[in-house]
């Protein structure tokens, strides 16, 4: 029979790690989405030239490894004497990272709203703000939501990297247990299952939403 030294308290330890993973993900997705909506909307308002600096900076977050970003931010806060905890550093970096991807999603969503629809809204006397809140954002949301769910799942997985700056999240917790119990395969499978359990339901939900919306679409 299969035997393991993994105890309930070890599982609780893993659960605590999973809690940190979820906390980092939640905070980062929250701030990242707010920033992403702002950046994404700005990019549709500005022309290519005036938006260029912002586009360039946002692109850096997608073209440099997240691990390097974390190391740099951590080094920077120590140089600047900010005294941030690893949790804060992780959340700041992941929020900006999220906002970079989110701004692309938001821009794509807004661009997907046909110009004629917006003209129709304005011709009915809606102000720019009313047009955005009542017409553009609701329509863009349908296009953007599936990608946004994908992004959230991506951030949850990528948050594993914060272990490098000393945060004990799920994957780091498993490493600690592996060192102590010397059962790498079994513990990693448990951890994989936990990641799976955290992400699979959301992934399915996203798929369902996308399907339902597509079915409701005429033509």
């Amino acid at each position: 029979m299969f035997e393991t030294a993994l105890t309930l308290s070890d599982l609780a330890f893993l659960a605590k790690g999973a809690g940190v993973t979820l906390a980092v993900t939640l905070v980062s997705v929250l701030f990242g989405t707010v920033l992403g909506v702002v950046f994404g909307t700005l990019r549709t308002l500005l022309n290519a030239w005036t938006a260029a600096p912002m586009t360039f900076v946002l692109d850096i977050f997608r073209s440099v490894p997240l691990l390097i970003q974390l190391v740099l931010a951590n080094a920077f806060q120590s140089i600047a004497g900010l005294g941030w905890s690893p949790f804060v550093v992780a959340c700041v970096v992941l929020s900006l990272y999220t906002s970079s991807y989110c701004s692309e999603i938001v821009r794509g969503g807004i661009d997907s709203v046909p110009v004629v629809t917006r003209r129709a809204a304005r011709s009915l006397g809606l102000t720019w703000g009313q047009d955005m809140t009542h017409v553009v954002f609701p329509m863009a949301l349908r296009v953007a939501l599936p990608s946004w769910i994908g992004l959230t799942l991506g951030v949850m997985k990528d948050s594993a990297l914060v272990l490098w700056i000393g945060l004990i999240e799920l994957l780091r917790s498993s490493q600690i247990l592996v060192t102590r119990l010397q059962e790498p395969l079994f513990i990693l499978i448990v951890v994989g299952a936990i990641y799976f359990l955290m992400s699979f339901p959301i992934a399915r939900l996203g798929g369902q939403l996308e399907k339902r919306w597509r079915e409701n679409d005429p033509g």
Binding site: I60, S63, V64, P65, L66, L67, I68, Q69, V71, L72, N74, A75, F76, I79, A80, G81, L153, K157, D158, A160, L161, L163, W164, L171, S174, Q175, V178, E183, P184, L185, F186, L188, I189, V191, G192, Y195, F196, S199, F200, A203
Partner: protein
């Protein structure tokens, strides 16, 4: 605040070593893509096949690759396989992990591309006397690669970024590994990693640009 003197000169002196590391990074990414593409074609075909064992295998691969962190997948190769007496070097673990990840994502990309090709293409090929495999190889595969080309180049950029995870399992010859070595010796973390970031950025942009050029040369239809 900022009672710190930046030592950029030290970092620039290490540039040749870091560029040598960047070559290893590029080599890893290319290898993982080449292997990943091959596996992804097999997985995509298996996922659409009638054989339930093949299908279950393919589905498991894709779901694990897409629903767990890439670092987890590298850990699995590095530590997990130890349970079977397989001990991989950091280089091979990293390559295996990234290849596994690439294959999972690319398989889904390829599946989507296959669905976009009309079934009548296969019919037309078969009606000319081609066998199933010949028709797939000569008619379907080339069209699939065209549709999947741009998403695949995104995956290539991902592969480059993922190679940086090697330091976590002790990789020291790629760009991140070389940088980490320098960092441990000098504690000039910010300078070295900032330079590494610039090199990663340049690599990523070169690949995207190169891919666009290749696509333009390759797909003239």
């Amino acid at each position: 605040m900022f009672n710190y003197t930046f030592h950029w000169y030290q970092a620039f002196r290490a540039l040749p070593d870091m560029l040598a590391g960047a070559l290893v990074t590029l080599e890893l990414a290319l290898l993982s893509m080449a292997l990943g593409i091959g596996l992804a074609v097999l997985i995509a075909v298996a996922k659409g096949s009638g054989n339930p064992i093949f299908r279950a295998f393919a589905v498991t691969w894709v779901e694990v690759a897409r629903n767990t962190p890439a670092l987890f997948q590298i850990y699995m190769a590095h530590f997990g396989l130890g349970a079977f007496g397989i001990h991989l070097s950091p280089y091979v673990s990293l390559l295996a992990g990234i290849t596994f990840n690439n294959a999972g994502y690319l398989a889904e990309t390829f599946r989507g591309a296959l669905r976009a090709i009309p079934v009548t293409q296969t019919r037309a090929a078969r009606s000319l006397g081609m066998g199933r495999v010949t028709a797939f190889r000569l008619i379907i595969l080339p069209q699939m690669f065209r549709i999947a080309f741009l998403p695949a180049t995104n995956q290539m950029v991902w592969a480059i970024l993922m190679t940086s995870l090697g330091i976590v399992v002790g990789m020291n010859s790629d760009l991140a590994g070389v940088t980490q070595d320098l960092n441990v010796r000098t504690f000039r973390t910010f300078e070295f990693f900032a330079l590494a970031a610039v090199i990663y950025y340049a690599l990523a942009k070169t690949v995207s640009l190169g891919a666009r050029l290749i696509a333009w040369r390759l797909f003239r239809y």
